[in-house]
Symmetry: C2
């Protein structure tokens, strides 16, 4: 129920969802109504709508991260953990409620890279690249920095495709990532150095 959480939590929750679903141009009135919080309270908790955009995006960061790449405390190989990200994305798209990567969408809508929301988006996008990078280092890939960026690009490219096409991805993200991983000598369950 809505009243169990604090007004701040309710606002961040509603803002995170509505900014994503309807875009950052949705009105503050609609946000407050959805959160069951008065505008007065909102403007006591957040300096401005822009700040709410940034904070709500940041507050949902951990959720998206867990969604895409859950804790590393499993026995899968780096390659498997990387490909799982693309499979999760595929599932999200297939579920029908996917409107693109929230960070990219927010940055695209805001236009201004110095907007606090854009800064948050950049930060969390970097975290996905960092995840890839860690796994690639573990796997002993040749050029983990470049490859981590390339995998992030494939992720965002697949995301853009799902938005433009409004159709399931059909595994194209994981398939593309596989080609890059193959080319970099990252194979299932073994280090690239062992394969050479």
């Amino acid at each position: 129920m809505t009243t169990s959480a604090t007004p701040r939590e309710r606002l961040l929750d509603a803002a995170g969802e509505l900014f994503y679903r309807d875009g950052v141009n949705i009105g503050v009135d609609a946000l407050c109504k959805a959160a069951g919080v008065s505008k007065k309270s909102m403007y006591q908790l957040f300096r401005s709508k822009d700040e709410l955009i940034a904070e709500s995006l940041a507050s949902r960061g951990p959720m998206y991260q867990v969604l895409l790449h859950p804790g590393a405390d499993d026995d899968r190989s780096p390659r498997e953990r990387i490909l799982t990200v693309f499979e999760r994305q595929d599932e999200l798209v297939a579920s029908g409620n996917y409107l693109g990567c929230p960070y990219v969408s927010t940055a695209v809508e805001l236009k201004n890279p110095e907007h606090p929301g854009s800064v948050v988006a950049r930060h969390f996008k970097q975290q996905l690249t960092d995840f890839f990078h860690r796994e690639l280092v573990t796997a002993g890939a040749d050029d983990p920095s470049t490859l981590a960026i390339q995998l992030t690009m494939i992720f965002d490219g697949a995301s853009a495709r799902s938005v433009v096409r409004a159709q399931p991805l059909g595994g194209i993200g994981a398939a593309t990532a596989s080609v890059l991983l193959d080319a970099a000598g990252v194979h299932t369950g073994e280090l690239a150095t062992q394969a050479r």
Copy 2:
């Protein structure tokens, strides 16, 4: 000067630029002012703002296409023509005025895939994929359909990266495309079937 073109051309021009630079939420007043056209005239030429979004996006389609992949009447190889697209994108980003692929941005901002602007975006995005596909067929690539989609994804991934990072791409798009082309046996100046 602004008055040399017809009101319709001036409107499409101004709309194409301002929708891209400021987002589709820019007001009709600002558009008309920039175009030197009255709102009355605008609503005689276009049924609604939504229609203007779609038509202005469509009117700039040829421009973007020429920008990214000029006429095929040259003696470069398919691989070179494909990689040129990514190099052009790189130059656009480096020029500092790039705010992401206008089709993807518009689709992201509109959210609704049935919006006339989203339909136009889907159409022109497909045209880039078709261009890749034609070149790949010419080059005798193994699976041109899949590869054309993957190249489009890399294009959009690079575009998303440029928006989120607000920095030059440094050739990462062409580099990634090269890996895929290599894996598919598309090499410079020769057919893949000859290479096998």
